[in-house]
Amino acid sequence: MKRTILLLCAIYIGLASNEAKGQTAAYKALFLYNFSKNIDWPPMSTDDELVITILGDQEISAELQKITKTKKVGNKNIKILSAASISDVQNSHIVFLGSNKSSLLKSLSYKKEKEPVLLVADKGGLCSQGAAISFLTINGKLKYEISPSIIAAHNLKVSHKVVSLGIEVQ
């Protein structure tokens, strides 16, 4: 039996090779940029720029930085902020919660309950915990769940197009 185990280990180690890179972070960043173009915020103190805070996902933050070097929303510059904890989250139009920070969603949504902010999460099923939009993968396709009622509760207006292209949850 020891021989069998050793043989298996050798095969497994021999088959190992380097990790490849994925492109999903770039797609999620593109979605976030597109959401910013299709959501209306009420007048805010930070009206001269559109602030997107990324909580706990440096990859998406970097991808967004690439996009916003050349892109604006209307005539507003886009400012990307990174946060490590809820207390770091400043006034923002969009807060994206990386999947590693999903456990903070309930606290974040409670804290931002009355603010005009779009909370975007990175795991399926999180609209039930307060996310307005949540990414998920279905059969190898990147999709998003969207809750128009949560968006409205934050005093935001979303275009019909964003709702119809997503998986609507109430």
Binding site: I5, E19, G22, S99, L142, Q170
Partner: protein, 808 residues
């Protein structure tokens, strides 16, 4: 026969392939290559609908998808709300449907070999013993029944499918098949504070397909192979509209044993059915009870397992916070596996025919569930007294309150279980229960989940239960957890938890007289329940650490220490010997053979288990084509107050004390001395008048014989699994897995039995003919290691199956 099955499977595959049209993913004039070559700036110029189409064409990279599917799973069972598995405050594993199917596991029980900390031993083809972390065979040196795992709570969608009559899980009675499963969530360690009694060593929650899985109208998985094994499931699922989902599923399972013979404990070998029927011990006594019918008890000794089930699901989702699910189903099962009775042979039949209804609702924070299971269960086919009508009601209401960093979840639960053997008894007294016996449990619970900071979490879960047979007593269970997330990739937790078993109806309500007048002494055995027992309880301390050293590796380490007490057992209380006797001349004489009655009752025993152990699990996405998974558990269990005397030795000593005769021929037993005393006192009249002489021995092993620090060898020192999932092309995948365990020693009332270390190598090769059809060859135990995995039961050889998996 096998060849015909493969030909049929191949023909079905070809037929299904012929109607399958390959998809060409072009929608807006873009190809996958074009999309992948576009820069972020170019893609950002696309309007949302075109961007979505482009991303759909490109798809998520297979590596990202693997990260998401394997290393970033969601789990709900550990906190009763969805969370990232990495953040779970308990030792938790999630096994997805895809992982189960890829592995080639042919049943839910076998799939448990992929889960860290679970020992899975095959008893007969397709019938398994499943233990979380061990603690098996406590108390030992008694009935084979005590090998059953009575300390793990198995649920389907949180509906307990526990056997409250005798304890444990009758796996073959689960109405669902593999095709019904969305995922299986396993929580290791005492979880009674979340799910109630019997979640002592952990919880296995089988989650059926969710509404997001309702994207294929027809799906199924069918395979056939060695030992006349046929396994299949078929599902029809329809999304009626955005809110309403309906499903209808069915499953079938047929497996033969590798032998038709039966193992007889005292002879220590296998015999054919006809040999067993005639088999006699060295004193000329028959092993098989002539009152029973061997052709009823072993109608088909070659059959290991046959079961089928049908389920219907209706899911109405008004919103994510308002939904109602109704499911119902029926199952029939008939198996030959380890006996649950006091049988001379190790195997006996079990038959079950049950139905269920389960209603779940989520309404603005209220989580409501009510279900009822009912039917007929026969725990020992062909032996009067084990067949029962049964019903099990379970109702739970919990409410989720969110105060930001503090989550509060109060709840109440009511469980009511009855078993009734009345309809199946030839006369009162021949059943275990002799009528309807009922157990009602009321419970209240509270779970607090507090984030002191973003990284520091405290969880306190409390539950208390009131059992109807002890109305004045409330039994608490709890989980106290602190969890600290050093950073996004390192998470450490500390758990202190306590859970208890519930009483089982045979323990509290047994009222059974076993007439053994055609068998060796004793002539009668009286089994009596006990409503005053304390409940078996396990306390656990656990230190857990999860880490992602790199994005593609997930490591999970658990170190645990547990102590168990208040184990219960059916044990000899006393033996009585009675006979009419008289004075014949100067000598007292028996007027007939003494009637010997043994009295057995349920009781707590002083044994305490102390277990220390560790589990390590590794999930490693090496690249998009290769995934490695491994887990290993090492443990040591020591027993204090271990009684080294077997049940039969206690009975034997009591009998000896009554009737032993010295080497010089002088009688000294209590019974004969009593006869002498009566003769001397004049209580014994001269023949033909007679008086009854009666004497009782209640000898019990002296506590000085009990052993402390006794190494419990029934749980192996180590077990685990190592496997690779290799996907050389989009069409072909090869999954190989080696499950292994160390040596263990099983003890029952007759014997000790050593199970040697074993490694089981499995491999499944799949060919994906299209998105709709996959064909495969599935090898189980391909090195044909035949050694028994479970004491006294079958040697299950290597098996080869061929099958198809399809969805339209």
């Amino acid at each position: 026969m096998l060849r015909i099955k493969f030909v049929i499977a191949a023909l079905i595959s070809l037929l299904l392939s012929s109607v399958t049209v390959a998809q060409n993913e072009e929608g807006i004039g873009l190809t996958k290559e074009k999309v992948l070559s576009m820069s972020s700036e170019e893609l950002s110029d696309l309007p949302l609908e075109d961007l979505m189409a482009a991303i759909e064409i490109a798809g998520v990279s297979s590596l990202d998808e693997l990260y998401e599917l394997l290393l970033n799973k969601n789990v709900t069972s550990a906190s009763k709300s969805s969370e990232n598995l990495f953040d779970s405050p308990l030792s938790t594993t999630v096994l997805s449907y895809d992982e189960i199917i890829r592995s080639g596991a042919t049943s839910i029980e076998e799939a448990m070999r992929l889960v860290p900390g679970i020992i899975v031993r095959e008893k007969t083809n397709g019938n398994y013993d499943v233990h979380i972390r061990g603690l098996d065979n406590i108390p030992s040196k008694n009935l084979l029944l005590y090998s059953e795992n009575t300390s793990t709570l198995v649920m389907i969608n949180r509906r307990p499918v526990f056997n409250y009559a005798m304890g444990g899980t009758l796996w073959e009675t689960l109405p669902i098949g593999l095709g019904d499963i969305s995922c299986i969530e396993v929580v290791r360690g005492p979880s009674g504070a979340l799910y109630g009694p019997n979640a002592v060593s952990g919880v296995i929650n089988i989650v059926t397909k969710e509404h997001t899985d309702y994207n294929k109208l027809l799906s199924g998985n069918m395979q056939a192979g060695s030992l006349n094994t046929y396994i299949g499931d078929l599902a029809f699922r329809k999304k009626v509209n955005e809110k309403l989902y309906v499903g209808l599923t069915g499953n079938y399972n047929h497996r033969n044993r590798s032998t038709e013979e039966l193992y007889v404990f005292k002879e220590q070998k296998f015999f054919s059915k006809s040999e067993y029927a005639e088999l006699k011990d060295k004193n000329g006594n028959s092993y098989f009870d002539p009152n029973d019918n061997i052709n009823v008890m072993y109608a088909e000794p070659s059959l290991a397992r046959e079961n089928y089930g049908a389920n219907a699901f209706i899911d109405y989702r008004a919103s994510d916070t308002r939904m109602v699910s109704l499911s119902g189903g029926y199952q029939y099962s008939n198996i030959l596996s380890s006996t649950m009775g006091d049988n001379p042979a190790s195997a006996s039949g079990r038959e079950s025919s049950t139905a269920y209804l389960d209603l779940r609702g989520l309404v603005h924070g209220f989580d409501i569930q009510a279900n009822y299971m009912f039917g007929v269960q026969d725990f020992y086919v062909g032996n009067e007294g084990f067949k029962n009508d049964m019903g099990q009601l379970n109702a739970t209401v919990e409410y989720d309150l969110n105060f930001g960093s503090l989550g509060v979840r109060p709840g109440v639960n009511y469980t009511s279980v009855f078993y009734n053997d009345d309809a199946y008894l030839s006369q009162t007294g021949t059943g275990f229960l002799n009528g309807k016996s009922q157990l009602d449990i009321m419970a209240a619970s509270l779970r607090l989940d507090y984030y002191a900071t973003d990284n520091l979490r405290f969880v306190g879960a409390f539950r208390t239960e009131n059992y109807s047979h002890q109305p004045a007593k409330w039994t608490p269970s709890w989980q106290l957890i602190s969890q600290y997330k050093l950073n996004d990739n390192n998470n450490v937790r500390f758990v202190y938890a306590r859970s208890n078993k519930s009483p089982f109806l045979v323990e509290t309500h047994s009222n059974y007289i076993w007439d053994r007048t055609h068998l060796p002494k004793p002539d009668y055995m009286h089994f009596t329940g006990n409503k005053d027992m304390s409940l078996m309880t396990l306390n656990m301390l656990e230190l857990g650490y999860r880490t992602r050293p790199t994005k593609n590796i997930l490591l999970d380490l658990e170190l645990y220490y547990s102590s168990g007490s208040n184990y219960t057992v059916l044990s000899p209380d006393s033996i009585n010997m009675s006979a009419p006797a008289a004075l014949a001349g100067m000598m007292p004489t028996l007027m007939g053979s003494p009637i010997v009655s043994a009295y057995m009752n349920y009781r707590n025993i002083p044994v305490e288990s102390i277990q220390t152990g560790a589990s390590l699990n590794v999930d490693w996405v090496i690249n998009a084509k290769l995934i490695a998974k491994a887990h290993v558990t090492v443990q040591q269990t020591k027993l204090d107050n271990h009684n080294p005397i077997t049940r039969d030795e206690i009975l034997g000593t009591q009998a000896y004390e009554l009737y032993h005769i010295n080497e010089d021929g002088t009688p000294e037993g209590i019974f004969v001395n009593e006869m002498g005393r009566m003769a001397l006192s004049g209580e014994l009249p001269a023949a033909p008048d007679y008086a009854v002489v009666s004497a009782t021995s209640d000898w019990q092993p002296d506590r000085s014989l009990f052993k402390n620090d006794f190494k419990h060898k029934s749980t192996p020192d180590y077990w685990g699994s190592i496997g690779i999932d290799y996907r050389p092309t989009d069409k072909i995948s090869i999954f190989s897995n080696c499950y292994l365990y160390g040596k263990q020693v099983f003890m029952n009332q007759y014997d000790s039995y050593t199970i040697n270390a074993k490694a089981l190598l499995n491999a499944k090769v799949s060919y994906k003919a299209s998105d709709k059809l996959t064909m495969y060859i599935n090898g189980r135990n391909i090195l044909n290691m035949k050694a028994q995995e479970f004491a006294f039961l079958d040697e299950v050889p290597g098996m080869v199956l061929g099958g198809v998996n399809f969805s339209f």
